[in-house]
Symmetry: C2
Subunit: 383 residues, 2 copies
């Protein structure tokens, strides 16, 4: 965010800070990370606190920052998130992430997050007319967006990946696969293996190291920092029962409740949202999110993807950043990372990945922890 | 706290919750504990968030709860802490706790928390006239208090422990040790072995499973919950450099800054504090705390212990609950546990361990995370 700040500020101006992080404990054998961040950044002795709500950690951190300002105790609060995941091999990462599920009733049954979202996808396919192509098309769209995002971990389209594979085969004198379309490529079990049916590799967000950060200030002083502030118009956070105890698999109750709170505070409805970053840890998660948020009625999410409504040039652009799928998913950092993208979109400075619609004034972020145990929804507005 | 509530309330009245926990990740391979707590207690879909600042986790959680109320978003907030430490063998616990120190500069040098506080004790002995007896007398005092606390993990005096050992030796026909005083017993290397010189076993808080919880409500509605509310008059939180980078070893800068904030908000000075719970993870930590908080000038803390000023019948009773030393130290729960004790003291309902002085109107809690990376200080007042 520093690069887009219109006016300079000093680190000593920051009065309080929050850092969202899922599990530096298990990824790095390092707890109590908040004051270490303060020490490295030269921010001591300001109060700094680590917030943990699994993959919604920095979403929750932002909410704490907002309330700290609303309380009147502080005017300038730094809010960020971070995760260093690649210390461990892939299986280790899967295990660490699984510990965000219920360790009594879910993990011992063999559930990992690909398995959990695979079950959600299967339930959605059973209940509605959702098919494998719908899932894969979410990934194609998000890679199309991420290819336009220089900060994306995989800033490359599925088409590019397919073409590169064909070119490589040709160079090596191997048989060139006869994929004609991205869907041909994505349906190839060699190129895109099953992870947890009906989810394939390219249905899953990657393992990512990353950090995110924004400066929250009280509205009275926002113009000291930029001539074009973006306001946090609504925040919502809710808890939900773990998946094993949930009422249904095709919807996350916490997402519905968190968005209800955020819409109410902002005084808007789902229809007023121009652009959104939603928690696409798996392709099915984006479809479920767009239904939970009220963008589309339940079961209509897949058709909206099919019709291109969620693409950059659609009427409801979703995950213009590339989403977790293409931008990457450093879990504790993702919630604030979403807000960074919406900030750029509302200011009209997202460059090639700017949403094409004429009006981009209201944005939303949707950040999920665990199997829907936590959901944080923010509504942002260009003043 | 429920038992001392004057008026009943329903769990559905709770609007928001925070849970302080250091590392369920490493102790129990369970992250994202907040919504699991909400699910078990039947509190979904209210927002619930885990706060992690090492052993100051629930101290920080309480501060978030207070700001959530001050923000105007909520009126009734549950704040608690928990830690389940005994899953692991003692060496494992020591390693998990060490991960709250700096993993780049402290842990690889072989530092564990007993070692860190041993170094602090040595520095205090070098700089002032502190001796081993001063340390041991903190433990004697705190066990005297904890023996009066039915919820203490070790609700037994050092004298009792000594007498039991002698009786057991006699029963078994073994030579009966000739300990005459508690100090004789505590200086016996067999009975009280060195852990990290100059700290012995009985200088260290135990490994504990435990939880704590309070209900925070806005002052406007406090009388709906009790006829005798205790108010949170001041809160302070500060970060400090890790020990390896600190300016001095005989004081924690974060404690001085956090208490400055809390005193300022409450409009009091250290002299106004009638009773305090301080973070005695090791006996030396209590002495340093009483100096950092301004109760005694630097170097006078040990003499205050000698003179009985910090005992139940002293002019400045410290750790009437038994402190972490005797009550136990379930790390993420300790900060809110301290507040529970002060709540009882200010209401005059601490029974046999009620501070003896005539006026007990202002209380303080002092909760430290890591090697002083975080400190949270609260000032509580009887209205």
């Amino acid at each position: 965010m520093m690069e887009t700040m219109d006016k300079p500020f000093e680190i000593d101006d920051i009065e309080c800070a929050y850092i969202g992080n899922y599990s530096s404990d298990l990824f790095e054998t390092q707890g109590h990370t908040a004051p270490i961040v303060a020490d490295w950044l030269g921010m001591t002795p300001i109060p700094i606190t680590r917030i943990e709500n699994a993959c919604a950690s920095s979403g929750s951190a932002l909410r704490e920052g907002a309330m700290a300002i609303a309380s009147g105790m502080y005017d300038i609060v730094l809010v960020g998130g971070m995760e260093k995941m690649t210390n461990l091999p892939t299986e280790g990462v899967t295990d660490v992430l699984a510990s965000a599920a219920d360790g009594l009733y879910e993990v011992p049954a063999g559930l990992t997050f690909p398995g959990i979202f695979g079950a959600i996808a299967k339930a959605h396919m059973d209940r509605y007319e959702t098919n494998l192509d719908h899932l894969l098309k979410v990934g194609i769209k998000n890679h199309n967006n991420g290819a336009l995002n220089p900060k994306a971990q995989f800033n490359v389209t599925i088409q590019d990946m397919m073409d590169r594979r064909k070119a490589r085969a040709e160079q090596r004198g191997q048989p060139v696969p006869d994929w004609q379309t991205e869907l041909d490529f994505l349906h190839d079990e060699q190129a895109n293996p099953w992870i947890a049916w009906p989810l394939r590799l390219y249905d899953c967000a990657p393992i990512t190291d990353g950090a995110s950060c924004i400066l929250l200030v009280s509205s009275e002083i926002a113009h000291n920092f930029t001539d074009r502030p973006v306001s946090l118009a609504g925040i919502g956070q809710a808890s939900g029962k773990p998946l094993h105890d949930a009422d249904e698999l095709t919807s996350l109750s916490a997402a519905k409740e968190a968005s209800r709170q955020a819409y109410e505070m902002a005084g808007i409805t789902a229809d007023d949202v121009d652009v959104a970053e939603v928690h696409d840890c798996f392709t099915i998660a984006e479809i479920v999110a767009t239904e939970d948020l009220g963008f589309f009625v339940p079961g209509e999410g897949p058709r909206a993807v099919d019709e291109g409504r969620t693409a950059l040039d659609g009427d409801r652009p979703i995950n213009t950043s590339g989403g977790l799928k293409s931008k990457g998913h450093p879990v504790g950092a993702s919630g604030v990372g979403q807000v960074v993208e919406i900030y750029h979109q509302l200011r009209g400075e997202a460059g090639e990945r700017q949403a094409k619609k004429s009006k981009v004034e209201v944005g939303l972020t949707h950040n999920v922890g665990g199997t829907g145990g936590t959901c944080v929804v923010n509504v942002l507005r260009m003043e």
